[in-house]
Every structure is written in C-alpha cells, then in structure tokens.
C-alpha cells in the first residue's frame, strides 16, 4: 500500500479544532430550517395529519395533530442541526478520517487479529456460551458463510470474475453428499473431498462458456447457471426427489464413531455423559477447520504464480495476454478452486442439516455470499469475516424487531456502501516485498475512492 497522498501518521484531529471561519449566519440557518419544515408540513398534513378511520359502518376522517407537529418539529430541528454542522463537514480534511485509520491499523495487524480470532473461535465451545445450543448453531452458520465468502473471494475478489451463481456449487456439494450417503452409505469423510472435486468439475463446466465474457455479461450467465442447477434439482425427480428434497441424510461421525447413546459411541468412548451438544460442537470444529483451510489455501495461493495471475487478470486481461499468460487457464482455475470450496461447504451443510431441498439454494443465497465479499472489501480475508458476522449475526440480533429486521439489515448495508464504497477493508497488501524491513515505516494510506 503506497501512495504519495496523506500520511497516516499525521497527527489526529490536527484540523478538527480549528476556529470556524466566518461564523454561522443564524438567520440564514433558521430560514432554511423553516422552509424545510414548511415542506415537511405540506407533505405530512395529508399523510400524518389526517386519518381515515372505520367506525362501525362509517368512514370518518380524524385528525392527528400531535403526529403532524412532531414530524414538522423533527424536520425543523434536524435541518437546523445539519445546517449548523455543515460548515464543519465541508472543510477539506487533511488526511484520512479516524475511522479510516482504525481500519488501516486493523489491516496492518491482520495476522495478530486473525490469530486472536482463531483462538477465540477454538475456545468458544468451552466457555459458558458453549453450553448454549443456539449460540453454537449460529456460530456454525456464521462459519459456513465465512467459508463460502472466502471461496467466492477467489473468483470475485482475486480473479475479478463477478459470479452471481455461486450457490450452484454449494448445491452440488450438498446433493453430492446427500445422494451418495443415502444411496451407498459412504461416510462423510470420504464424500467430503469427492464433493469438492465434483463442484470443481462443475466450476470448469460453468467456466468454459463464459471464458469470453466479462463484467455484466458474465454476471448474467452465472446467474442463469445458478438457476439452471436449482431448476434441475427441482425437476429431476427420479434422482433428486424434486422439491420434496432428501431426508434422512446420515449424520456426521467422529471419524467413524457415531454420536448416539449406547456402547461404542463417542460419549461412551470418551467417558462422557451423552449430550446432543457433542455433535453440534464437533460440527462447529469441522467447519472451523474447513474454513481455516480455505483461508490458508487462499493466502498461500496469492503468493503463487496462479494466484498472482488471478489478480493480474482482474486488473487487466489484455496486459495478461501480452505477457503470455493463458487467460483460459487462469479463469478456469479460479472458477474450479472457488467452486471446490463451495462444494466442501455444501456437503458440510447437508451433513449438518440432515435434510436438504432446492429451497436452500435460491438466488438470495448467492446474493448474500456476494454481499459478504463486497461488503468486506474485495479480496480482503478479514473483511469477509467481519461482513459475514454482520450478515449472519445482525438478523439474529435484531430478531426482536420481527418484520423490521430485514429492513434494518438492508439499511445498514446501504449505509456501509455509501460510507465505504469499496468495502470495509478495501486494502491490499502486496504479496511480495522488495524492502520488507522499512515496509512498516513508509506505509501511506491512499484516500478512499481514488
């Protein structure tokens, strides 16, 4: 991260305390607020002030002056405050905001934060929260989305190929385990790698027709691909059991040892009292390991020729060709490896749920995974975690607001995008440094939106 602009180490708030220039014209501000309040009054008179009420068979027009005046007052005060602080906002800032700096520090300390987060994740089941099934369940869901986000990050964040049909690979992985396990009784641990391979194969199948496409066109075709897979799952009744889904998918085993009551089971072997929580905690650790593998793989891949070619392809495909890089191979490898992790996550999903149906693999899932990648900041591994926490945990936290929770979720998402158009952690560290020693000293922060 380098740039001639704005040094991070510039003193905080060096500009924030400067005396206001020219002062504020109070009359102007009041006038402006009055106009805004007047417009609000005109609008809210029919909308809030009048109310049609059914009384018996009659329709009466009631007035609600308290609401009307409240709305006008809110607009007046709001506009007044806004106008007072507008000058402050308009002054050009001499450097990144405190928030930018905080995010940059987070980015700098990525490794430490990552390790702390990992340790926290490992000890979570052994803390007092670990006894709460709801928390373990939500944490597992969260980790599934983190893993999907990291998988899609390969395709979207690194290779720059906008994929709106990622859920298709998730579905392929899920059905792969569900079908093989119910028909042939193979263990999860055998099918897990198979489903990854199978999903990767589907990634290549998707990759071939879209090789020449970029941007919007690519997005449309991948969207179609996601729908094709879902429609096949619904209609190919003989194999997939159609919309009824597949029930009775064998549960996960502790590498062959079952989680049940009785002799030779997990609880028996480890001398524990049987608890339904054991299998949940085990599932939690499985997805944690899978997610960490996804992360380490991607981190390592970025430092290898293939990963660097992905990023180069995102930056400029024509330049890649001129350097003798085969764009076909680069794109297909990104699609295949991204899909592979989707497949792993899918087979985990089906072993956890025990039941899958095409319902679980609708476009909204693709959209959520993509939102995680974009909100987090394209290509940022830690950003994906933060965004996944936001996307999965927020709706849970706001459960008490019932039907408003999706509204709040959507609103928060819009706010983030307005505030940080390139995602929360839109920083990129070079994969190799020529001067690793003084890298820390010369960090300069590029201004957002440049």
């Amino acid at each position: 991260m380098a740039g001639p602009e704005a040094n991070v180490t510039a003193g905080p708030d060096s500009d924030g305390r400067a005396p206001m220039q020219g002062g504020i014209n109070l009359a102007e501000v009041v006038k402006e607020s009055a106009i805004a309040a007047g417009i609000a009054g005109l609008l809210s008179l029919p909308l809030l002030g009048l109310h049609a009420a059914n009384v018996g068979a009659q329709l009466l027009l009631r007035t609600r002056w308290e609401l009307f005046f409240a709305a006008v007052a809110v607009v007046f005060v709001g506009r007044f405050v806004l106008a007072l602080f507008r000058d402050r906002r308009k002054r050009p800032s001499h450097g990144p905001s405190a928030f930018d700096r905080t995010l940059h520090v987070i980015h700098e300390r990525m490794l430490v934060i990552g390790i702390v987060a990992l340790v926290a994740a490992v000890i979570l089941p052994f803390t007092e929260w670990g006894g709460d099934r709801y928390i373990i369940y939500t944490a597992t869901t969260f980790l599934i989305y983190v893993m999907l986000g990291w998988g899609l990050n390969i395709v979207v964040g690194l290779a720059g190929l906008l994929d709106l049909g990622y859920v298709a690979f998730y579905a392929v992985g899920a059905y792969c385990y569900a079908l093989i396990a119910t028909h042939f009784g193979w263990s999860f641990w055998v099918v897990l790698p198979l489903s990854g391979l199978f999903a990767a194969f589907f990634g290549v199948i998707l990759g071939f027709p879209v090789l020449r496409l970029r941007g919007d066109y690519l997005a449309i075709v991948t969207l179609g691909f996601g729908e094709i897979v879902r429609v096949i799952l619904i209609n190919w009744y003989d194999v997939t059991n159609g919309p009824d889904g597949i029930i009775g998918i064998p549960r996960i085993t502790f590498f062959g040892i079952e989680f049940r009551r009785g002799e030779g089971t997990f609880a028996d072997l480890f001398g524990l009292d049987f608890s339904a929580l054991h299998v949940m905690v085990f599932l939690y650790f499985v997805i944690l390991v899978l997610a960490v593998i996804t992360n380490l793989f991607t981190q390592r891949m970025r430092k290898l020729p293939t990963g660097r070619a992905w990023e180069a392809l995102r930056e400029d495909e024509i330049a890649c060709r001129s350097l003798g890089i085969n764009p076909t191979n680069v794109k297909l490898s990104a699609f295949a490896l991204g899909a592979m992790f989707g497949g792993f996550a899918g087979s985990f999903f089906s072993v956890r749920a025990g039941f899958i149906s095409p319902e679980s693999f609708t476009f909204i899932e693709s959209a959520i995974i993509l939102a995680i990648v974009v909100l987090g900041g394209m290509g940022s591994q830690l950003g994906v975690v933060i965004a996944a926490a936001f996307v999965v945990v927020m709706p849970e936290v706001f459960r008490q607001f019932e039907q408003y929770r999706m509204l709040m979720f959507g609103g928060a998402m819009v706010l983030i995008m307005v505030w940080r158009p390139r995602g929360l952690l839109a920083f990129r560290s070079p994969t190799i440094l020529m001067h690793p020693k003084d890298g820390k000293k010369t960090i300069v922060l590029k201004k957002e939106g440049a």
């Binding site: 390592r300 020729p305 660097r308 001129s322």
Partner: protein, 309 residues
C-alpha cells in the same frame, strides 16, 4: 496416422539470417476498411526499427497483428528467434506469441496492473517461467524449495530492471500511484521481464518531458546494445525516432511510403508530403519552415498532425 506438426513452426524459412522479424504482404481489413495494405518490411537483430506515420496510418494495427490481438487478413509474419528458430506469428494464438515466441509489447495507453505493486507487476510478467518451476503452483503450495528458488531468481531479474530505470526504491508502491513517466518505464521493464527476443513499444515517449525522453533514448539503446534485443518502435516524438532508430518504416493510410535509415527517410519527398500535405514543388512558407524546424536537425519529418487531415 500422421503426427500433427505444429503449424506455427516452419521447417525452413527463406528469410535472411540477420532478420529478426520478416513481415511479408501484411494486409488487415476491417469490413470494407483497409487498415494495412500489403505491408512488407524487415526488422533486424540488434537494431531499433521505428514505424512512423501520421495519425490513423495503421501503426498500432501492425502491432496488434504482430502480437496476436488481430488475425491478419493476408500476410506472413515470421519471427526468426535467435535461440528457438522460426515462428509464424500469424498462425499463433494471441498469448502464445509472448509465451512461446517471446515477443513482448507495451501499449499506447499504459496497461499496468495498477492495484498491484511495482515488483508484483514484474513477477507476473515471469508467470510462465514460475509456473514451470512450481509445477503449476503445486510445488509452491507444498512449500517446496524449488519454487522459493525460482521466485528469488524472478525477484533478482525484477531488481535488475528496476535498478536500470531507477525504480528500485519504489518497488513496493502500487503501480497505479507512480508518476506517469515512471509508469511508462515500468511497462517497458515488465515487457523486458518476459525476456523477449523482440520488444514492441507503442509510443513509449508519449507524455514524457524532454528530459524523460532523453532517458528513454538511453534505455532503449541499452536494451539494443547491452541486451542484444531487437526493438520495434512506434513513435511520434521525432527526437526519439531520429536519434536512436537504425531503420525507419513510414506508413500512410496503411501503405508503406518509405523505408530506410533516418537520413534517407527524413529527406524522402513522399514522407514530407504525407506529414505536411504539401505538393513537393510548392514552396513552404518561411514561417512554417521555421516553426517546424525543417532546415534543422529534425528535417522534413517533424511530426505535425495538421497537415495530413
């Protein structure tokens, strides 16, 4: 069954031994528009060959044909690789021209990987070598020594070129944050990092100030003399073209109108006509002669785009 022979590798060629690139009867049509019309020329080893011509003469189209971005309508483009033997470029798929025949190019509008660091840009350029060394990244994934060694060599090569153009200190900057002149130089470095046999530069001096132009001259001459690489150059800046070119090909409306050393081209009546749009026997007004410096070093080929409209 007969084994398939690589059709881009001719068994024998009739081109002279000192030729690096032989362009024969190259024609490129876009529908009814003839962008290049029966162009033939030779670029020799260890020489800088410049292609000049007024705007829209088809210079960049020649480059795009050479580097596989266009398939020529007619023509044969033979690259006589000093180590690997002859290649027929018109039969090769775009990226393979850089991969197998070692033809590198830069672009008129700079095409760096702007959000990657300067060093990464140069490492990406060595993609094919690193892929081979790392067994398609597998060796790297398993932390094998051979990849670490190959990467180290790649960094050394990058360092060599960064030192050469004075960008070593800025190796960890984002390429997009470099000043314009540095970006131009970096693009040349990146092309050199594929270790080409032929380097094609599309207007490398565009947007450079006079001092930077001079530095560019030194760099290009060093590439020719120290590295022994043939350079093919499109340029409008006559101070670059006339000083460093060994051989100049002049295009106008897709046709070759002159071909020779700088002195011959500079005094060629057809070239003067193409650039200035004057009849040869018509006297050029005194003030224009002065403005264009026709009597001075740059002669009649000083670039002026007003004349050829």
């Amino acid at each position: 069954m007969m084994l398939m022979r690589d059709l881009s590798r001719p068994l024998e060629t009739d081109i002279p031994a000192d030729a690096l690139l032989e362009v024969q009867h190259l024609t490129m049509r876009f529908g009814g528009l003839v962008a290049i019309d029966d162009l033939s020329f030779t670029a020799r080893k260890n020489e800088i060959t410049a292609i000049i011509g007024p705007n829209g003469a088809g210079k960049t189209t020649v480059f795009n044909c050479l580097t596989g971005f266009y398939k020529p309508t007619v023509g044969r483009l033979t690259l006589n690789h000093p180590d690997k033997g002859p290649f027929l470029l018109e039969r090769m798929e775009g990226f393979r021209i850089a991969q197998k025949a070692d033809v590198a190019r830069t672009f008129q509008n700079i095409r760096l990987f702007s959000r990657m660091s300067v060093l990464e840009n140069l490492i990406v350029a060595q993609h094919n070598r690193l892929m081979k060394a790392s067994a398609f990244s597998l060796a790297g994934l398993l932390f094998m020594k051979r990849y670490a060694k190959a990467e180290k060599e790649a960094v050394e090569l990058a360092k060599y070129w960064l030192d050469k153009v004075g960008l070593y200190e800025r190796a960890d900057w984002d390429a997009g944050n470099l000043p314009y002149g540095d970006q131009r130089r970096l693009e040349i470095c990146r092309a050199m990092c594929i270790q080409p046999a032929l380097l094609c530069l599309d207007e490398p001096a565009a947007g450079l100030n006079p001092r930077e132009s001079l530095e560019l001259n030194d760099l290009l001459m060093s590439i020719r003399d120290d590295e022994g690489i043939g350079v093919l150059l499109i340029e409008h800046d006559m101070s670059v073209v006339m000083q460093i070119s060994d051989h100049i090909v002049v295009l106008d409306y897709g046709r070759k109108i002159a071909d020779g050393d700088p002195l011959a081209v500079r005094t060629d009546p057809a070239v003067i006509k193409a650039y200035l749009g004057e009849d040869e026997d018509e006297a050029i007004p005194e003030d224009i002669v002065q403005d264009l410096g026709l009597s001075t070093r740059t002669g009649g080929t000083k670039q002026g785009d007003g004349g050829n409209a």
